[in-house]
Structure formats: structure tokens, C-alpha cells
Amino acid sequence: MNLPRTTLLLKKITRDTPLDVPINVRCLHLTDINLKKQAGRYKKTPRGDKPLTYEMAYAPHRIAHYKSWNSWNTANLLDGLRPAETLQEDAFIRKFMTGTWHRLFLSEIIIKRQHNLIRIAGIIHQAIPPRKLYFLIGYTEELLAYWLQCPIKLELQTVPNRSDVTFKYI
């Protein structure tokens, strides 16, 4: 057999290190930690023509300083009730809204809860006739009210152009 030496070594050495790391592997970092944060941040384009809304323009650590939350409820306060259920319902509502109002929402979907009332707010594009809009509002309210067993209110604002919500270009 004409195996390289490292392979032979690996076969010989019993692996009793806790992380099952071979002993001949160097566990030492000589470079700095990157600490790169990417969530909720957007990359610059070479041309600088990527439109960002106000919400997108500020990174998540600006919440409560420059911008506010997208979900308003009391579940995560001290001694709040149903935090997990609220989060799951909010995620469901967001998914349902983006699917039902396909390519129409120009902003994030805001979910505000008061007692058992759920208000869903946001900015939509005037891309469909008002008749369809009214249908979608009724449809969404009815179905979500049936699923979540809560009164639902859709409070939407419409803008004629997609660029109306643009805050800056990067």
C-alpha cells in the first residue's frame, strides 16, 4: 500500500477527543473572527439603483429607535400569555397574506392585536381594480377569522406606483 502518511496516521490514532477531531488537525485560528451580520441588511448594487423601503433601509438593531416593530402584541411582555401561539399565528397570517395578495404588498405586513381583534395593515400597489380589492379584503377577513377564531380587520393603504414607498437607492 502506498498511502500518504497522514492517512496512515489517522488510522492509527484512536479518536478520543470530545469533538471527534483528529489530533493532527490544528484547532487554532490565526485570523480575526468575521462577525458578519447579514439578516435584514441589503447589499449594495454596483449601479446603486436598488430601491429600498424605509423598513429595509434600517438594519434590525434600529428597531425601537428608527423604526418600530411589525407585530404589536402583549404576548412577549413580562407574564404575557400565549407567546408561542401568537408568533405562530403571525407567521401564518404573513404567509397567507403574501400568497393571497400576490405581488401586491409593497411593505411588510403589520399585525396589531388589541384584545382578540387582529388588525392587519400594510401598503399595497394599485395594480388590481377596486372590485377585486374589495373581494380580496372580504375573502381574507372571512377566512382568517374562521381559522384564528378572532375578528380580523384589514386596514390597507394603496399607492399608485411601486416607487412611492422607496426611501433610498443603494
Binding site: 428608527y66 423604526k67 416593530w69 404589536w72 382578540n116 401598503i123 394599485q126 393603504q157 433610498k168
Partner: protein, 357 residues
């Protein structure tokens, strides 16, 4: 080659197709052509598929969508705002005639109200303007009754309704109105409102324990054992009743209560008073003559025993004892040292304490 005979005409019309394939569109075109007015009915009409004069296909023009201008432009200045914004609602720029801005822009002005999500996120109080609240109150007023005149002041309320009931309702943003903390009931009442004699009060305080606040004289009972508020309320009232009647009962073993079991310093039955009487008798003096001194001494000693650890009594009592001593010295000088070591020694406290450990 295939031939198709259309049966929707009086006379059969024969069409010739160069292809064996046709679709529904073809039929529509052919019927359009065939039903052209002014065509000769006697002859068979032939269809020219290869061009010629074809009618222009109808294309739908894209209608410009009618978008109404924002409502704010049509609002009169003297409108009733509570009709425009009657209840809580997410902000809408077309309904609010205010030049609002929200957000931070380092390069220019803050974003305006149109297409501004930040304004939609935050709770607004546009439905709670002072006129709206006034209107609301006026509407509710007809359901209100006047406040009882006898309860005009807080003191009167406390006098006629001494029992204070504290319960908490919780408002959540959740579909459930239940909160386990809402079951807790607290009742408070001043102890002197209860009809208790000396024995009953003593027993009541022993039963109640640290639920009695000595500074304010208020007894607080908190119940949270039952799952429902009503049950806890009933339980609290039951406890109050039970403790009250229990404190009035006199068990046979309560006769065995002696001086050390007392929760206060009983001056009248104390060894100290006995000694003092003896002292005065030896000095051939009447105790009533030195009433002021005796009172002061009594106060000092009672305070000394009742408020153990709360005040520094070292400065309090020797002065009184010394003044007693001087008074006695005026009458009979040797009677103090020989006759009454309990009070007259420098550590007269020990003598008194002998009667009340």
C-alpha cells in the same frame, strides 16, 4: 381536405379549408364573415382564408384607472372630526388632513404621510380627541346615577364600607380573556371596625399573624388557592368570618395563659408595680401624690418591654428612675438602697425584669 357544414343558416354554407385542422377561433371568424350583411343569399358564399379584407380584430384598450383624490381635499374646515374617525383605526393618509411626518432621514426631510408604514405601525389616538370623549361621555350619561351624597368624601366611604376588596383584571392582546392571575382576591379592613373585646382581639391577632399591619391597623387577607375569582372571594369572606367567631370562643386551655404569654406588658399586674407600691409604702409616701412620676416610669417600662429592639431605651429609663430616686431621697434617704433594689439600683431594669422575663 375537409368540408364543414354549418347548420346555423337557412342555407347550408360550404367552407373550404386548406388545412385539416381548425380551432374555435376559426369558427368564430367564419361565422363573422358569413353573417356579413348585404351578402347575396342566392349564391354560396366562399370564404377567403388567405388574407383579403379581414375585419380588424378588436383589441381592448387599457382604460386609465379612475383613482379618486384623497378625502382630505374635500373636507370642510368645520367638519365633525369624530364622524371622520369614529373609532380606533390604523392611520390612513387620505383621511387625516394633517401634514404629518414620521421617520428619520439623514439626508433630508423625514418621510411624509403617504406610503409611510411607520405611521401605520404606531398606535394613534385620533379617535380620542377631547370633543369625541365629551360626546362619548354625554352618550353614557343617561345611564349613570348620581353618586350617593353620604359617600361624598373618602373618609365617609371608609367609614360606611370598611371592607376593601382588591381584584385585578388583565387586558391582553390575545383571543382568550382568561388570566390565571385574575383569580387572586385581596380583602383589607381596619381591625378596630370589628367588634372584639380584649381577649378576642388578642386571639384574633394571634390567628391572623403577620397579616395584621401594626402601623396602619389594617388586616389583609389574600386568597389565591381556588381556581376562580368567585371561589377565592367566597373563601376570603369565609376566612374572615371563621377567624372572627373563632376569636370569640374561649377554650378551657386559655385559662392557662400567664404573664409571660401576654403579648403586651401588663403594668397593673406586674412585679414592677408591686415593687413600686412597696417602695412608696416604705418611704411613707402616697403613690397618688407622685402620680406624674409613676406615670412616666410606667410609660418607660411599658415601652421598654413592648417595643423591644425598636428604640434605644438606654437613654429613656434611667432618667425616670433617677428622678424617682431623688424624690424618694427627699422623703427617706436610706429606704431606696436597702429596701428596694428592684427599682433604685443603677440597673433597676433588671429588678423590673425579674417580674417580667
Amino acid at each position: 381536405m375537409s368540408t364543414v357544414v354549418s347548420s346555423c343558416y337557412k342555407k347550408p354554407v360550404l367552407f373550404k379549408f386548406s388545412k385539416s385542422f381548425f380551432s374555435f377561433d376559426n369558427i368564430r371568424k367564419t361565422t363573422d364573415l358569413a353573417s356579413k350583411p348585404g351578402s347575396d343569399e342566392d349564391e354560396f358564399r366562399t370564404l377567403d382564408i388567405r388574407g383579403g379584407k379581414t375585419p380588424q380584430t378588436y383589441s381592448r384598450k387599457k382604460q386609465p384607472r379612475v383613482v379618486f383624490p384623497p378625502r382630505t381635499e374635500r373636507m370642510p374646515v368645520d367638519q365633525d372630526w369624530s364622524n371622520v374617525w369614529p373609532g380606533p383605526r390604523t392611520f390612513h393618509p387620505a383621511s387625516v388632513p394633517l401634514p404629518l411626518r414620521q421617520g428619520i432621514n439623514k439626508l433630508g426631510a423625514s418621510p411624509g404621510k403617504v406610503g409611510n408604514v411607520e405611521l401605520m405601525k404606531i398606535p394613534n389616538f385620533l379617535h380620542l380627541t377631547p370633543p369625541a370623549i365629551k360626546k362619548h361621555c354625554m352618550a353614557l350619561k343617561k345611564f349613570c346615577t348620581p353618586w350617593p351624597r353620604a359617600l361624598s368624601t373618602n373618609e365617609n366611604c371608609q367609614k360606611y364600607f370598611p371592607l376593601e376588596l382588591i381584584q385585578t383584571d388583565y387586558c391582553h392582546s390575545s383571543p382568550s380573556i382568561r388570566n390565571p392571575l385574575a383569580r387572586i382576591i385581596t380583602i383589607k379592613f381596619p381591625l378596630d371596625k370589628l367588634h372584639l373585646d380584649e381577649h378576642a382581639k388578642d386571639k384574633f391577632l394571634r390567628l391572623v399573624g403577620d397579616r395584621y399591619d401594626e402601623e396602619t391597623g389594617i388586616v389583609t387577607i389574600v386568597t389565591d388557592k381556588c381556581p376562580l375569582r368567585k371561589q377565592n372571594y367566597d373563601y376570603a369572606l369565609y376566612l374572615l368570618t371563621a377567624v372572627y367567631y373563632e376569636s370569640w370562643t374561649f377554650e378551657h386551655w386559655e385559662i392557662e395563659k400567664s404573664q409571660p404569654d401576654l403579648e403586651y406588658y401588663d403594668w397593673d399586674n406586674s412585679k414592677c408595680k408591686e415593687n413600686l407600691i412597696h417602695l412608696f409604702k416604705q418611704a411613707n409616701q402616697n403613690m397618688e401624690e407622685n402620680n406624674l412620676l409613676v406615670e412616666r416610669l410606667k410609660e418607660s417600662i411599658v415601652a421598654l418591654f413592648d417595643e423591644v429592639g425598636t428604640t434605644d431605651h438606654k437613654d429613656l429609663w434611667p432618667g425616670d428612675v433617677v428622678s424617682l430616686q431623688t424624690c424618694d431621697t427627699c422623703g427617706s434617704s436610706d429606704s431606696l438602697e436597702g429596701g428596694q433594689p428592684h427599682v433604685a439600683t443603677n440597673h433597676g431594669f433588671h429588678g423590673a425584669a425579674a417580674g417580667h422575663p
